[in-house]
Symmetry: D2
Subunit: 105 residues, 4 copies
């Protein structure tokens, strides 16, 4: 991705601020696929639709990796650290079956 | 992540529709960090702020992986396929230094 | 709102680019209220939750009006024009009961 | 807008949950217009671009009004109440020229 941007001289546009905008725009294209579907329908996408959703997921990942690279963040490590934090924030015994936000506990 | 959700009986909430909403909400927390910064400032975050941004990036990745898992999408493969598509959509020789959308070419 | 920003010397931050980021961040706080609710539940919010949702709607409107002001856009006129466009894009007789995007017709 | 939805039998899709998704998707289309522009450029849009931005602003307003209607929220009142809250959260004398979040004061 780094060389993709460099070959196109797009590095100048790829500030973390701008990339966060591109990331949310791609996330929104994902949301758009689901906005008029029921939750049930969203679990059973026709293959044509699934292919489009797959492309949106890819776009989100691409910008996510790009921001992480720009900020020298190790994404995998950050995610694994965050999962540990979440394990503590939401103890399984306490939150089972509830979608309340942790601050409400 | 799968077992994290299962242990909490949260699987019922994790439909692709709902997860896409959680994903964009996390993306927005990232955007929020950058909204009043200049592009320049966004490239030089103080370490305290960078740590917070790192957590948001992790949250986005967590939900992204979760949706992909729910839809049986191979994220890495999807991203690599998307990069190939982008190589063709935006030929380096043609788009160099321009941020125009490919449809404008 | 103009004087609110001026009194705080916040006008410098209120470029359309930045305001669009603030707008989407507020929209996401709205989304967050609904992400783990069923569609049914989202139509029957408890009064405490409704009050919070009301504040998010207000925030979205505030930034929306602010961007429009910065760009000299007459929001009411723009909306009324857009409604006319939509009337034509989605003829009632043709689209009744379907949530397909107009491009699919 | 109410009759627009009713004539098309779209009321069934217009739950607050779904409308919040449509709202953020429209907000993202706005963000997309600005993502590769500098802040400066975002203040001086060419007229063709401004026309497109105007349509996105209209779309955001349309969905915002639609959600408010569905939840029986008086948008104007909610916004005016929120402005009062903001006046107190961010006293002009204290926050002048700073974009720090109010919690940091």
């Amino acid at each position: 991705m780094r060389s993709f941007a460099e070959e196109r001289d797009w590095d100048q546009f790829h500030t973390p601020k701008n990339l966060s905008m591109a990331l949310i725009a791609e996330s929104a294209e994902l949301v758009e696929h689901f906005q008029w579907l029921t939750e049930e329908q969203s679990t059973q996408l026709p293959s044509e639709k699934l292919k489009e959703v797959e492309e949106e997921l890819a776009d989100v990942l691409i910008y996510l990796v790009r921001i992480a690279d720009k900020l020298n963040v190790d994404l995998a490590q950050a995610a694994s650290r965050k999962i540990d934090i979440n394990e503590k924030k939401y103890p399984a015994a306490q939150v089972r079956g509830s979608a309340k936000k942790y601050t409400e506990y």
